[in-house]
Amino acid sequence: MEDFERELRQALERRPAPPSLKRKLMERRSRQRAERWRGHVLLWQRLAAGAVLAAVLAGAVVWRHAEQRRMGEAAREQVFTALRITGHALDQMRAQLEAHDQDAQE
């Protein structure tokens, strides 16, 4: 058994790797790194584009909200102005009616 195991151990000595292995490996590594770099760049470009789009959408929402608020304020102002005008007209009418009543009593 010992002889056989010794033969087996000798038969299974490590074989030298092909001389081209390291060169091919380093070439594949460079290619993969370049691909990974391109992938990262593409990812960051997409993230940046997404961030810009999100910012534009958020800006549009905020602007729309502010615009609606501004229009609401303007409408409120118009209503108040109309009420003031109406109040003023009513006051004038009431004053005229009072003056007419006094004239009628005299």
Binding site: F4, L8, L12, R14, R15, A17, L21, L25, Q32
Partner: protein, 172 residues
């Protein structure tokens, strides 16, 4: 401290390429495939280099991944229905001149015909000089199973050798 060890990819390739290539070659029996597996293993190492803590860790990692990738390649080959024995004969025939011992060449061929788990155990035991405990840890297999694979593999290999290599076996 182990944490201060800085892995150098090229140095690891220089140190371990023959080990990784030999494991893949003995598991698959195909030089071209073994070279491809060795490249894949080192590229995977490159991606995991930050997690490698020491030279011993690198050695353990490379052996484990080389065995795992070789098993994957054999599985894919079985699915494709390629006859390993025929390929082993063809591919190892080219290498015959590299060997100093004709018996060694024939033992390798016989080894290739063993069932994969037995072949894996024998390769790790006699190529890498690992103990059964280390083989069990590497393959994630119970120690008793590894011992059984080693015993059965050796017995089977010896029986094949005795029937086919009578002229080479001492005292046969």
């Amino acid at each position: 401290m182990a944490g201060e060890w800085q892995p150098d990819f090229e140095q690891l390739v220089d140190e371990h390429q023959s080990m990784v290539f030999s494991l893949a070659l003995r598991m698959t029996g195909d030089r071209g495939l073994a070279e491809e597996i060795a490249q894949d293993v080192f590229l995977e190492l490159d991606r995991h280099l930050g997690k490698i803590e020491s030279p011993l860790h690198a050695l353990f990692w490379l052996r484990r991944v080389a065995m795992s990738r070789s098993a994957d390649a054999l599985r894919r080959r079985r699915v494709r229905g390629v006859d390993l024995w025929v390929e082993m004969g063809e591919n190892h025939g080219v290498q015959a001149e590299e060997r100093s011992s004709p018996l060694g060449t024939r033992l390798e061929l016989l080894l290739a015909a063993l069932p994969e788990p037995q072949r894996a155990a024998l390769v790790l035991r006699y190529q890498e000089d690992l103990t059964p405990e280390e083989i069990a840890a590497m393959l994630g297999t119970p120690l008793a199973t590894v011992k059984s694979h080693l015993q059965r593999g050796l017995k089977l290999l010896r029986a094949k050798a005795e029937s086919r290599l009578k002229e080479y076996i001492r005292g046969a």
